[in-house]
Subunit: 557 residues, 2 copies
Amino acid sequence: MTQPNKATPAQGAAPHLEVIPLGGMGEIGKNITVYRSGDEIMVVDAGLAFPDSHQMGIDLIIPRIDYLQQNADLIKGWILTHGHEDHIGGLPYILPRLPKVPVYGAGLTLGLVREKLSEFGIRDVDTDLREVQMGDKVRIGTQFQVEFLRMTHSIPDNAGYILSTPAGVVLHTGDFKLDEEPSDGRPSDLARIEQAGKDGVLLLISDSTNAERPGRSVSEAEVARNLEQLIASCKGRVFLSTFASNVHRMQNIVQIAHRLGRRVVLEGRSILKYAQVAQSVGYMELPEPFLSNDEVGTLQDQQVLYICTGSQGQPMSVLPRLAFGNHAKIALRRGDSVILSSNPIPGNEEAVNLVVNRLYEIGVDVYYPPAYKVHASGHGSQEELATVLNLARPKFFLPWHGEPRHQINHAKLAQTLPRPPKRTLIAKNGDVVRLSQDDFKVTGTVPAGAVYVDGLGVGDIGDDVLLDRVNMSQEGIMIMTAVLHPTPHVEIVSRGFVRANRELDAQIRKVALDAVEQGTREKKRLEDVRDDMYGAVRRFVRKVTGRNPVLIPLIVD
Amino acid sequence: MTQPNKATPAQGAAPHLEVIPLGGMGEIGKNITVYRSGDEIMVVDAGLAFPDSHQMGIDLIIPRIDYLQQNADLIKGWILTHGHEDHIGGLPYILPRLPKVPVYGAGLTLGLVREKLSEFGIRDVDTDLREVQMGDKVRIGTQFQVEFLRMTHSIPDNAGYILSTPAGVVLHTGDFKLDEEPSDGRPSDLARIEQAGKDGVLLLISDSTNAERPGRSVSEAEVARNLEQLIASCKGRVFLSTFASNVHRMQNIVQIAHRLGRRVVLEGRSILKYAQVAQSVGYMELPEPFLSNDEVGTLQDQQVLYICTGSQGQPMSVLPRLAFGNHAKIALRRGDSVILSSNPIPGNEEAVNLVVNRLYEIGVDVYYPPAYKVHASGHGSQEELATVLNLARPKFFLPWHGEPRHQINHAKLAQTLPRPPKRTLIAKNGDVVRLSQDDFKVTGTVPAGAVYVDGLGVGDIGDDVLLDRVNMSQEGIMIMTAVLHPTPHVEIVSRGFVRANRELDAQIRKVALDAVEQGTREKKRLEDVRDDMYGAVRRFVRKVTGRNPVLIPLIVD
């Protein structure tokens, strides 16, 4: 490096590494992490997030990638930890806007990515997907070596990684739990973490999702045992709803159904998609083929089990349609059992509650946590987080994949351990976290945040548009059209304001017209007439109704 | 009764009673229960509910009382079980619309009602509030005798009641838990329930809120012990947020602060109001006067405890303003402790989570359930519900104060007991539940439902208005104004649709103008020109943006 630029350390300085989270740091969702060493960049994941209640009408959210676009020629490679939407869901929006580089991931992960890219019409030839096995090491550019690390989670082929750089070694857990009885018999590679710890881990980046939960997470095997016991007790048809991506659970349910003499019907687009991809990469074995709903006619009720979408109450998915009687082919009835093998994701509580209440009203038997232990989180609780910290013995620590409450409780947990990290940072998206063997700090920020996807639009909705949506949702909108010629008159149209009310409309029209007539008598400019009308109506409406609808004054000259 | 009308039983028929829930049956909120016996009506409570996420912009919801208005002259009296908003919050809207009748309630309940009515400008002389003690019997009309029954809950002076009617005895628990260590030393009157059970309870109406929770609820005394231990460990200032109406807890905190050498500051309107009413009726003793925030200047940090509003994340309340740095006089700082002695009410999870995360970011120490057991529900769990069922031994059972999931689990619980009810009904608001010694069934319905209160308006917002709000919140709104003379042109204004986009605006204007020009060329009627413009723009916008904003076409001739 004979021509140092501003991103290159002065000659002789200790090598350093920059970790730049563009998503997933201080939040749960839209994970994407950038590493920069020298003049090379490596990227990890590119997820999406779902809107909160104030991001009205938004379909989904992807991370801003200005930093990557500005440094596009430095990107040497990309790795994917696993196939959940919050880690790969942003790829179809992001990959096409950046140079084609190698993208490494395990079989199921890439299978899901291929499916997703093809839905978006992105051709194979425009991407460079490279499949890896757990334990594989790949070199990315000259600065990075990545070793894929098996970690258990709620989807197969989940990886953390050990990143070797000139500055030192980073151990990133990825999303994980330490499932002691994983469905595929392959537990997290704690021996490798221990070895890395002995060799020296400069930085640990670890999953903070459940840092507030004491104890250990529940094993997927325990969930399977509880499901089997429950389903064995069901007399009629069974409808089970779970996360489509939890391929191990789906596989377990298929085996349970087979043992209990039930044929399995899959209902819902995402369940079908995951099952198909999982089969194609060898992650799902079927003792008997799936049936379609049309094929169950001759079977008795206790010979059928439906696996269906809708565990989060999403309006167009199967379980809500069943609950509200909107399914074209299937009608629930007394004697059926519905199992929610899931918990509501924060934000979905109300939608799930509506579905559950409707199921009770139909008279089906409904089973769900916590009364029935038929779901387990994919993220480790405090004992598991402590185990990783104890084995990795990092010098520096970045609690990741969590909101501030989770990050800070993870940091506090680390401080209680026998060999706490020398330094822990609570970082945010866009922070440039710079580390070397001796130093670990935030040295700057780069643009980071949310790009809203709504309908076909990506990034054409900003916070101003969302604020209008929030305001209209609270108070409605009123459009006043003042026509000046030949005789001034005013038309009022409103939506979401109050029920049709002629008397109030007439009063408002009069207030608006008075303002307009006074303005024209005084020969005011049109803009001023408009503003006068706006002000007069706003004051009147506030006084009479106590409300502040969004007001739109229009003047037709 | 020599002149029977349709509501009077045929001569010689067994006397019967009608129970008509107008709110609080199949939901949690806006409780109001109507009893009718012969030609007399008695009413219990008149609460409010808070909107769900689809009832956008609504301040609060009160029950429809068409049935009471239509039978106003039959109403002989009203009783109030306790002072929570979901039991008395509807009174200022409802009482003025009905004849003045005696309203019976305990001291704190009536204190809160008086405060509330005076806020609404309702004069004492227009109501007939009559204070009762627990154990008092009052006669209402000729048909009803009500005995007030002490039941513990999260507010003092909470009552169930035993209602004697010609048809038989109804035992209504009201909201309750069976707190074995209540703060005022006065537990639920189980002996009276047992006696009623021996004498014969025809119908039990019981609180279903926590029918899905196994075991017992936590005692208020246990919460106080945990709070004392926690506060004793805090080094700096303590800010504690809880439900203002939990007067016992506030009293306990005042005592704890005194023992720990902290002076108490109350912050927030509702905390101040409840403290003042509680003191006025003798339910709060102060070892030292409260201080105002201006008076704490000379005290050290560990000598101060603030009790503040905002445990539900309500934007204008104290704790959220502290968290977001918007409080005029108080700024949180590292070293402060914040205790949320509360749980988020369903629907408030996101707002509370935002506050909690901001508190962590400030660096204060934050304590909240479940990690810290500093809150207890006011509603009994399964063991408590079973105790009441076992003692009351009702012939008929109405699970009340719950959504269908809670009602049905309460019903199932009753069936597991040694002496289950002969019949249980899952009723809804508006059901006319008719019972006699031999029969118990729904015989009809009366109007019931929600009246929305928004700003100064009561009932002027209907579901159509709410649907407009939801639609605008999802997709925005676009107003197209076509001016026909002298030359046709179109103006487009949108809100909440997309960020300002001149090119798209121009395209839409052109599409609209084409439709208008064609319509005028063909000399179509104005309505048809408007509809053509609407249709053309809708199709174009959907195709280009994938969205369906609310479209408002205006034609100015």
